[in-house]
């Protein structure tokens, strides 16, 4: 018995929608297996992990809080992946964006004005973009593999943040804890009531970015350039597009968005800098980008789905006394299933038995 792939005459539109749904379904199924293997009731596990966080306004707010940075980062990554640039260092660009964005509230705490937060976001975007420009320039100048360099810079930025909050930026009144001073109130994004929910400014920003990206990718020449260079650099060259400039552009866009996500996370969720500022948003956003089929609307939905896994991880910790690490496992499984199911878009999968022996003829 083996699987055989038969190329479809054209891309299956049905499967483009079915594949992510199927991947999520398989993930839920396998999550149930994980729960059972850990000696828990799989039905209760699935309920607490995937359903319960959707039932109260408070947890829906949390869901949106978690989804916001994921969506913002994944939007940038989609530009990279569509143009065939492999930026996997978004976590580092997030960290640097959080640091540069925090310059104002940490070093100039008396600067309290309506311009504080916009300036912080701008500085965050700038920091992330410049940090992402490093692997991009190394790729275009020296042909250095951007996957490895962008990832190595994640560790460097994490250590730099660690030094910063333990050294020069440490709060002198912080009892020696590795934290900066608390951000002033002008540096914290406001929340707005929408129906029963109180939503953070960041969530609205994420929605705006989804629309901007959707229009850019679908309706502008730049969007066309991104996709052409990704699918066929040769064809792109004939159209007069420069793959090198695109590498720098894609990296800086995704770095800027990761930086924005970084400073927004710090400002709205923590209110100061500390050694650990993100539960791996930069890496999880890679899953979001692929689950969303590198499409802005898809990424919005995918961001909410993945955010659910963070909340689910916390929920089973309290209700079933299980490890929150289950969430990471579920996220990893989901990416595998997404990639595996995407095969169905281009291929028909057939299960073939061993070739039957010619029957002996009498």
């Amino acid at each position: 018995m083996r699987l055989e792939l038969v190329k479809r005459p054209e891309v299956s539109r049905v499967m483009m929608v079915v594949s992510p749904v199927l991947a999520v379904g398989l993930t839920v199924l396998f999550a149930a297996v994980v729960f059972a293997l850990q000696g828990k009731d799989p039905a209760a596990g699935v309920y607490h992990f995937f359903v319960e966080p959707l039932l109260s306004p408070w947890s829906i707010e949390q869901l949106i809080v978690k989804a916001t940075p994921l969506v913002i980062i994944a939007l940038g990554l989609s530009v990279c992946y569509l143009s065939n640039n492999w930026n996997i260092g978004a976590e580092g660009q997030l960290t640097v964006g959080a640091i540069t964005g925090s310059i104002l509230p940490v070093l100039l705490p008396e600067f309290v004005s309506p311009a504080t937060l916009p300036l912080m976001i701008l500085l965050g975007a700038l920091g992330g973009a410049l940090y992402a420009a490093v692997p991009a320039l190394l790729k275009t100048r020296f042909g250095t593999n951007e996957i490895l360099t962008s990832l190595m810079l994640v560790y460097v930025s994490g250590l730099f943040l660690d030094w910063l909050v333990r050294g020069p930026w440490r709060d002198p009144q912080g009892y020696n804890f590795p934290i900066t001073i608390d951000f002033n109130e002008a540096a914290v994004p406001a929340t707005f009531p929408i129906g029963p929910l109180y939503l953070n400014l960041s969530a609205f920003l994420a929605l705006i970015l989804v629309v901007v990206l959707a229009v850019t990718l679908g309706r502008t020449l730049k969007g066309f350039e991104i996709r052409v260079l990704g699918q066929s650099p040769r064809a792109g060259a004939f159209a007069g597009f420069s793959a090198e400039r695109m590498t720098l552009f894609a990296f800086m866009v995704s770095g800027a968005l990761a930086g924005v996500a970084g400073i927004l996370t710090v400002a709205s969720e923590i209110g100061k800098l500390q050694p650990a500022i993100s539960p791996g948003y930069g890496f999880t956003a890679i899953i979001v980008a692929f689950l969303g089929r590198l499409n802005p609307i898809g990424i919005l939905i995918a961001g909410l789905v993945i955010a659910l896994s963070y909340l689910g991880g916390e929920a089973i910790q309290t209700t079933l006394q299980m490890s929150s690490k289950v969430a990471t496992v579920v996220q990893g499984m989901l990416l595998f299933f997404v990639l595996a199911c995407d095969t169905l878009i281009l291929y028909r999968v057939r299960l073939v038995g061993r070739a039957p022996k010619e029957p002996a003829r009498a």
Binding site: R2, L3, L5, K7, W86, I88, L138, F142, G143, T144, N145, I147, L148, T149, L151, M152, L153, Y155, V156, L159, F160, D162, W163, R166, G167, F283, T284, I286, I287, F290, S323, K325, V326, A327, T328, V329, V330, Q331, G332, M333, L335, F336, L339, A340, D342, T343, Y347, V349
Partner: protein, 304 residues
């Protein structure tokens, strides 16, 4: 002092060498498996758990290799049978492996582990100066060198090695000649998984005999960089791994000297060194192009 430094360089270099030699074979067959970090984490936690369960670190070695193979099989299925994107699948393997290792290892955090014993050969190990360095290492150090020699011999002196390289350089022709591209690549990926698992097991059995979630600390990625550094030649891998081992140890030894450089900046060294080395290597395009497997990372669907 010097002897102590050399001994620690060996322990820092061995996990890198083990993981990288496996990935070298994988990439020579034309597959890019970015999941080394995840496979190492699985090897580390499984090795640790098995050594405690069976009461001997040697069980940990076997379990580490098997765990690495088990998760690499998932990668092989997704990328070879279902021809999914190898870069994304490798990232999935890293995320999944790190997550699963964290989950499995949660009960072991803080438990002291069993250390892999160093060999002692009467007469040889007692030799002055070189005795402990050459003849007093643990078994996995010798395994790492045996693997380098074995892989060298296999790739360039055997027929099967020639087939593997052919598959990596031109899968269309290899298929036309009647070799099963997918089967060769499955085997290569499994071998890579076993090696990465061994590298991980080395971390939790010899480097620091305990389990912490962040114990791989990017070593899987450094191993991937080493394969590029070696320009896919096993012998250069040894040079690279020991250079990086030296950089890692340099920062550990420099910290107590109090050079005035903050510890975090010293800890950045291995990662920055990786970036710099990659830039230097890729700057010299002729050597890289010549040895890079031509089909690296491209999926293959047999047409029939």
């Amino acid at each position: 002092m010097l002897e102590a430094i050399i001994l620690t360089v060996i322990t820092a270099a061995t996990p890198l060498l083990l993981a990288a030699i496996g990935e070298l074979v994988v990439e020579r067959s034309g597959v890019l498996n970015l999941g080394v970090e995840g496979m190492m984490a699985m090897g580390a936690v499984s090795g640790f758990a098995a050594s405690l369960t069976f009461g001997t670190p040697f069980a940990g070695i076997v379990a580490g290799a098997l765990a690495g193979m088990a998760v690499s099989l998932v990668f092989a299925f997704v990328t070879q049978t279902l021809v999914a994107n190898q870069v994304a699948s490798g990232l999935a393997l890293t995320l999944f492996g790190l997550g699963l290792a964290g989950l499995l290892g949660e009960g072991f955090v803080g438990t002291p582990g069993l250390k892999l014993p160093a060999l002692f050969i009467p007469g040889l190990t007692d030799l002055p100066v070189v005795g402990r360095i050459l003849f007093g290492q643990d078994i996995l150090v010798y395994v790492s060198f045996a693997l380098v020699l074995g892989v060298s011999w296999f790739l360039f002196r055997t027929r099967a090695g020639l087939v593997l390289r052919a598959v990596g350089d031109n899968h269309g022709s290899a298929h036309a000649l009647g070799y099963s591209v997918v089967r060769v690549r499955y085997l290569a990926v499994l071998f890579g998984g076993a090696c990465a698992g061994l590298g991980g097991a080395y971390l939790s059995l010899a480097y620091t005999p305990l389990w912490v979630e962040t114990m791989t600390a990017g070593r899987g990625w450094i191993a991937l960089a080493l394969v590029v550094f070696s320009s896919w030649l096993p012998s250069r891998l040894v040079v690279g791994a020991y250079l990086f081992g030296a950089v890692t140890i340099l920062q550990l030894h420099a910290q107590p000297l109090g050079l005035g450089v903050p510890a975090q900046f010293m800890s950045m060294l291995p990662y920055l060194a990786t970036v710099i080395v990659l830039v230097l290597i890729s700057g010299n395009r002729r050597t890289t192009r010549f040895n890079t497997p031509a089909c690296l990372g491209t999926p293959f669907v047999p047409d029939r």
